[in-house]
Amino acid sequence: MKRFTLLLFISLFYNLWLFSQDQNDLSLFQLAQQYERAGEIEQAEKIYQKLYEKNPDYFEFYDSYRKILEYSKKYENATKIILKWLEKRPSDFNQIVNLAIIKFRLGEENLAREKIQEAIKIANNNINVYRVIAASLLEARYYDEALKIYYQARSIDKNAFIIEIAYILVFREKYEDAMLEYLKLLDNNNNNNNQFGYLQSLLINHINNKNFLDIAINVTKNKLSENRNNLSYYYLLSWLYNEQKNYKDSFEMYLEIERRKKSNGYEIFNFAENAYRDKSYDIAFKAYQYIIDNFKNSGVYLLARLGYARVSEELVNTLFNDSLDNNKLHTEIISQYSRIIKIYEDFLKEFPNNQYSSEVEYRIGDIFFKRFDDLDKASTYFNNVLKKYYLQNYSVNSLIKLAEIAFQKNNLNETYSKYNEILNHQNASNDQKEYAKFKVAELLYFEGKYDSSIKVLNEITSNLSSDYTNDALILINFIQNNQSNKLLTVFSEAEKNESQKKLPEALELFKSIVESGNSSLSEDAFFKIISIQRKLKLFTEALKTANKFINNYPESPLIDKMMFQCAQIYYKDLNDVKNALTYYEKILVEYPNSIYINEVRKIVREIKGDINF
């Protein structure tokens, strides 16, 4: 028993001693780590060395000491301890790789490569070993060496490390090789949409780089010529062309996809819709046309017909948007828009009463209203929308158009009625309701019902998020400033005529305000007269009006605005640069604080170029 007790005590003391030793080492290790973090490398190194020498087989001590030796560029010492470690553990390939990296740093590249091969051999060509080795090389910024290791791994798996290799190649700006790597993702996954989507997500990081995009297209084209049956290449190439804004070639790819996939027009239709959304109308037109010509029995035929009609209208709009006032083009405009109406009407005949009919009828009505100024025919179509499709999307838009037509016809009661109908329409958006409210207020102003107008305008201004709040405030301000002026009724009547496109009548009324002598409204009337005279192409008259203003109101705060008008008439309407410049320079010299000064500076610079002595 005594012996047992003695043994127990000895054992206890020994364990306590061992424990206290371990605790002491652990504390020292933590202290070394603290030194290292604080940048006191020498202190840390001393402790790590001490711990390592005491217990060279304990990995944490060994590894920390090795790392700090490497950090301190004490490569010889680091090599020694790695070799010592490897004596006992010759198959620890991680340490062999660490040794290789040291060799690289010492410039002993051949030896380093030998060591890496040794590590690979030890690990029995396991694919993950290549991954670990390459990662270590990458961390040490030996990109080309890492690349070699990834390539070497292909002796085990020919498709290994595609993304890793491609990434390094992009990093090294070897775009062609990188793209060839990426394409391997599609090589063995013919027509696999998931793989294509994955590749897209990888390429999206690079295609902002124009060089990369151009090379990617060429590489994909070459690949496609080698393997014409892989549909993924067509999708990829089409997408890359789209990114390059080359819709023509993109369309060619989709034609090929359609030929091969025989999707009954669906693939082409998707392409056409995307092109339409991207406002690439020419190519969208071709795509819709192709479906109409080739897939009459397809489920997308109806939608293709509608798309074809829409895009045809957009194409005509782009032709004439800037030249609607040009009489010479009038016949051509009529002919082109008549063709569009025919396309829409054919659609209605062939597909009566479907969910798209309201849009088509609305579009026809809009062409009659906007392009032909044929109010009656336009009304017929807009009323059709209301009658047949009251609860559909285009009914509120049709009501707005009908209100505008009623106003043009000076049928004010009807105009009020239509705007009020919008205010109560269950499908009208808030924005449409605010618009209708503003139009009612404007109408009341035109009719000289100023108090009622202000009341409605005040309602609009209470909604600060409305798009019409500013317009409402301006109109309130104008009415309140001029309400005591008897000529305000004439002015608002003239503005009504102007809005109804009765320009000669409006002109006479504005002139009567000017002729009645100085009033708060005279200056505004001058500007209105000039604006109408310019619309009527009475440019000389407009200049006379402007000069009359300049002579009559030399002290007016609007004199710079009038001079700017003169300059613009000379420059834009009469193409008389010399006289325009006189006015522009006058503004520069005499009105340096004018709100038009920046525009004037820009125009003068445009005319005169850089000044040199």
Binding site: G39, I41, E42, E70, Y71, S72, K73, R105, E139, A140, R141, Y142, V170, F171, R172, E173, N205, H206, N208, N209, E585, L588, V589, P592, I597, N598, R601, V604, R605, I611, N612, F613
Partner: protein, 420 residues
């Protein structure tokens, strides 16, 4: 009678030729920044400009010329046509010993070089923004041009947020996978290889030394943001390696701090390099440190320009010409400089809120000078990567940008004999 008429015409034309254009630079000026462009335009066209230091905010005076007047109008610069007599009165006022004012004659449009990499975008850099806005021409130079000695062709060199330590701006932690960072690394590595350097940090050190020689031979160097402290760090670290393996592939010299040679620096001394490769900070020169910048309060961040004697210290006076004395602060990778780390020979031109916070400094080296201005963009308090460029049309009277433009005109000044 004919003779009298000729004499009268001559007298009249003489009077006309004495007419002057005064470009006031006080609060009345409509576009302070473009006014510098007008001074540059005048010099470029072979006419002299007089810089009236401390007179109405540092105004410009030049002979009347209709083309200059028109150019002022086109650029929106306020000017006052004044008579010869009025101009003489102004000069007389300036000359009075009790007035802290002086006239400096500007004679030649300085030839300007901006040190930028090939993938540089003008909106990355406040100086190029200011130059473009003020319509002042400049050329771009980079490492190869500097090493080939091209700087000799220029009067003025600007460095912006370039990193002369070879650590690519220390953006590694957050941006190492982005296209622009990768491109930056590739471009710099290719440039190093082209010039026979193994590491980018070695290339940058050589470039820093070439720039130092350029200054010693009489060049003017103006640096902003991180080009200030990294430039001096690169000079100090000539014989050691401060870059971690993420930047140059091998660990730094563990003893680099001890091996720094401050005597080689232009402006700073006794600084400590930041060892953390992932921390967006180079050293303790920067105030406030970047990781504290989030706590900076833009509304309370101001710096004050010091006043110098115009007649005895014309150079610092030129550099501090402004229509206000207290300016809004702005941050950058290097926002301000720690006062205790600035060499005693360097002149402090502006100081921030704190005792240690110096914003703007100037010094001489050899026959040339250098000026360091902390912060990135005077009109964007905290400019981040991917931020939109500042539109100077909205900051025509920016005092912060004015300081930059003072530096551009400063090399145009005719050297006067020293009074002290």
């Amino acid at each position: 009678m004919k003779k009298i008429l000729i004499i009268l015409v001559l007298i009249y034309s003489q009077l006309l030729s004495q007419q002057k254009i005064l470009i006031p630079m006080d609060l009345k000026q409509t576009d302070h920044l473009k006014a510098y462009g007008i001074a540059y335009f005048t010099l470029k066209n072979g006419m002299d400009v007089e810089w009236l230091l401390n007179y109405r905010g540092g105004s410009f005076l030049m002979d009347y010329n209709e083309k200059i007047a028109m150019e002022c109008r086109l650029r929106g610069v306020l000017f006052e046509p004044i008579s010869g007599a009025e101009s003489a009165e102004i000069i007389s006022l300036i000359s009075k010993p009790d007035n802290n004012m002086d006239v400096v004659k500007l004679e030649k449009a300085p030839k300007i070089a901006v040190y930028v990499p090939p993938n540089f975008r003008p909106w990355d850099d406040a100086v190029t923004l200011a130059l473009e806005y003020a319509e002042i021409n400049y050329d771009k130079v980079w490492d190869t041009e500097v090493l080939q000695g091209k700087l000799k062709e220029y009067d003025w060199l600007h460095l912006h947020h370039e990193d002369f330590t070879g650590q690519y701006g220390k953006f590694y932690r957050d941006f190492n996978n982005t296209d622009w960072y990768i491109q930056q690394v590739n471009i710099n590595e290719a440039e190093a290889k082209k010039n026979g350097f193994k590491k980018v940090s070695e290339l940058k050190k050589a470039v820093a030394r070439s720039i130092k020689s350029y200054i010693a031979e009489g060049g003017f160097m103006f640096a902003m943001c991180s080009a200030t402290d990294t430039y001096d760090i690169a000079l100090a670290a000539e014989n050691t390696d401060i870059c971690d393996r993420y930047y140059d592939g091998d660990p730094p010299d563990p003893d680099f701090q001890r091996k720094l040679e401050y005597s080689k620096c232009l402006a700073f001394e006794n600084f400590t390099i930041d060892r953390d490769p992932f921390r967006y900070e180079y050293s303790d020169i920067d105030v406030p440190p970047n990781d504290m910048a989030q706590f900076a309060n833009p509304d309370a961040d101001y710096f004050t320009l010091f006043e110098f004697s115009a007649k005895y210290d014309p150079v610092p006076t030129m550099l501090t010409q402004c229509h206000v004395n207290i300016l809004r602060g702005f941050l950058g990778q290097t926002s301000s400089f720690k006062k205790s780390l600035i060499k005693k020979s360097v002149i402090i031109l502006a100081q921030g809120n704190g005792v240690e916070d110096v914003k703007y400094i100037h010094g001489n080296f050899g026959r040339g000078t250098f000026t360091f201005y902390g912060g990135h963009d005077p009109e964007d308090y905290q400019h981040f990567v991917y931020d939109q460029p500042t539109d100077l049309n909205l900051h025509k009277n920016s005092p912060g940008y004015r300081l930059i433009l003072n530096n551009i005109l400063f090399p145009a000044a005719k050297k006067k004999p020293q009074k002290t």
